[in-house]
Symmetry: C2
Subunit: 354 residues, 2 copies
């Protein structure tokens, strides 16, 4: 970021390639959620080389093979685990299977980058913490609502640079299209997806920790409910949670499956961050009645400014993750941060269920 | 409201005069908060006749006398109470004095329209409930963030007409300019203003009940704090509360005194109402980086529409209040609704303090 007179603007134009072809080799498996495509392109655009894909349904990875001519599909997951050249496995399995797949990969000497949510139970989290210790490998989580959102990422940079002073509150509204007809069976099975705060909510909780700058939090209140979809009894279509971070920052999120049909996007996601010297609002996916998303609205003691972020920020996380793996560092997203976001979202889920 | 093809739009152009000059006579006293001017103009533009003003500081009412040549200033408050022609007293006293003044007026046979917050303690509320029973007079409250906001009012009409289906959540962000230098002493005295959720918060809680359609609520969580102004130890500069209405609607508000200096308004107040068939956002006082406020952004299953409200809705509350008084009805804002909003805000305040 730089400040040009009174104006804030992102500087980096495109995602930097941090390695040459072949220097960082990875495999992609379990294409159960479409997030896998963002994870793959995030890694390849940072210079990573995709060597293998694995999924029961070849249609899901056909395009990926086209885009990555050096990659090949394998019919046995074990082939990936057995190849010492593969440094990382990325996958987007059914949520309650993500942890088992990750630990399998780590025990085979691979780092792991999973779609969020990384877990559906606190027991899985405990096993993953243990696996990190045992193997020395990373259990990284692609919290895409920030890592694959240029405005979401840049908001973090603005906050870190002090553009709104000391942060007082992070508030997140996260509506989603239900689009029930196109959803797989597991989407409606509580055991598989883990609950609305555990599943989608892990995004929001990760943003709480990042923007709010906390290491831990107390869950003050949480609610999970089915308020409008009785035909799917295990679906939670509404969730909310209030937290206070260990540094005093207030956090609140609402998550729902009620994005209306006339919306031009899958969800008018908003993030509001209030600081002592200003506030910012992120309109991530749409600027309602005013065009597309990827915008930050910043008001502080000097400026009232709209900052267009799409195409200007890139996705720095993936290059940093690759460098962390190559250098043995923990900078892209500290392991404990990734785990803590999931832990808090599951604690909130438990409170909401009780 | 009418629906013109696919578009929603307010129909009423200006506030209707519901009475002829002299048919509804009122007095205005205790100009401690500038809200008094909105209360007076609300009543006069609905046809009310201002007969008296009373305040220790003549500068505060000089302009009101110019605008209302038939009105006269009195130096003794008792003169107002003794005049049987006066049907209502409106005032904006220091908050902890509002109830005593109201009961005095009611016992003298006047209805009462006070600035919010109507009370600073639950004991005052109990006394006012008793006074309503004893005198048969109204203890009305000008919750101006809805009653004097055209977009705030019209949002209620849209919701009542079903534009967003069944309401699931009402969420309110209410930042305010501190502007400490220009504030009177009582502003910083907790006993006088009652706490941030009691004082400002009563606006938000009134909107919860109106938009959410509930009669009562459970306070799930509340926080009041001084997070950035240690030089004013009795000031609460941050407040938040989570409620669930008795019909299941979720409510959340954040209130603060951190509106930044470069803001073009005293506070970028927002209200989000989520329904089963759509959502709306009210940008009341500013549309950040995009001009003025008074706008509703509505997205449902048919439209994505921005609705300009200023100058098109008027302030129907005041005429309805006058008619209620003349006809012995309780339509403008049921007495119990006005009291319940204050009660819930004070219960949240207590929870925040504990």
């Amino acid at each position: 970021m730089s400040r040009d007179g009174m104006n804030y603007q992102p500087l980096s134009a495109a995602t930097e390639q941090v390695v040459k072809p072949g220097e960082f080799v990875f495999a992609a498996s379990h294409f159960d959620h479409g997030h896998i495509y963002g994870q793959i392109s995030g890694l390849t655009s940072a210079g990573g080389t995709l060597k293998y894909v694995f999924d029961a349904d070849p249609e899901r990875y056909a395009k990926v093979l086209e885009q990555n001519p050096g990659a090949k599909a394998v019919s046995d997951f074990q082939e990936i685990l057995d190849d010492p050249e593969v440094q990382l496995l990325t996958s987007a399995a059914i949520p309650n299977l993500r942890c088992g797949i990750g630990i399998q990969a780590m025990d085979a000497g691979k780092h792991y980058l999973t779609d969020k949510s990384p877990f559906t139970t606190l027991e899985q989290l405990a096993e993953a913490r243990e696996a990190v210790k045992r193997t020395g490998k990373k259990y990284a989580v692609c919290y895409s609502e920030r890592l694959l959102s240029e405005s979401g990422w840049y908001a973090g940079e603005l906050i870190r640079e002090g553009a709104i002073g000391r942060v007082l509150q992070v508030l997140n509204l996260a509506p989603h299209n239900l689009a029930a007809a196109g959803r797989p069976e597991w989407f409606f099975q509580k055991e598989a997806y883990g609950g609305i705060l555990t599943d989608i909510g892990s995004h929001q909780f990760e943003q709480f920790l990042t923007y709010g700058g906390g290491q831990d939090a107390k869950v003050n209140f949480a609610r999970v409910d089915n308020v409008g979809n009785p035909e799917y009894p295990e679906l939670e279509d509404f969730g909310e949670a209030s937290l206070t971070l260990d540094n005093g920052v207030s956090c609140y999120c609402r998550i729902d499956w009620f994005n209306p049909k006339a919306s031009r996007t899958w969800g008018d996601g908003r993030t509001f961050v209030l600081g002592t010297e200003g506030y910012l609002e992120i309109r991530k996916y749409i600027d309602v009645c005013n065009g597309g998303g990827g915008k930050i609205f910043l008001v502080n003691n000097d400026v009232e400014q709209m900052i267009e972020c799409n195409g200007k920020v890139g996705f720095p996380y993936f290059g940093r993750l690759i460098l962390d793996i190559l250098n043995g560092t923990d900078e892209a997203m500290p392991q404990e941060h990734a785990f803590k976001a999931a832990e808090l979202s599951m604690l909130a889920q438990q409170m909401g269920e009780s």
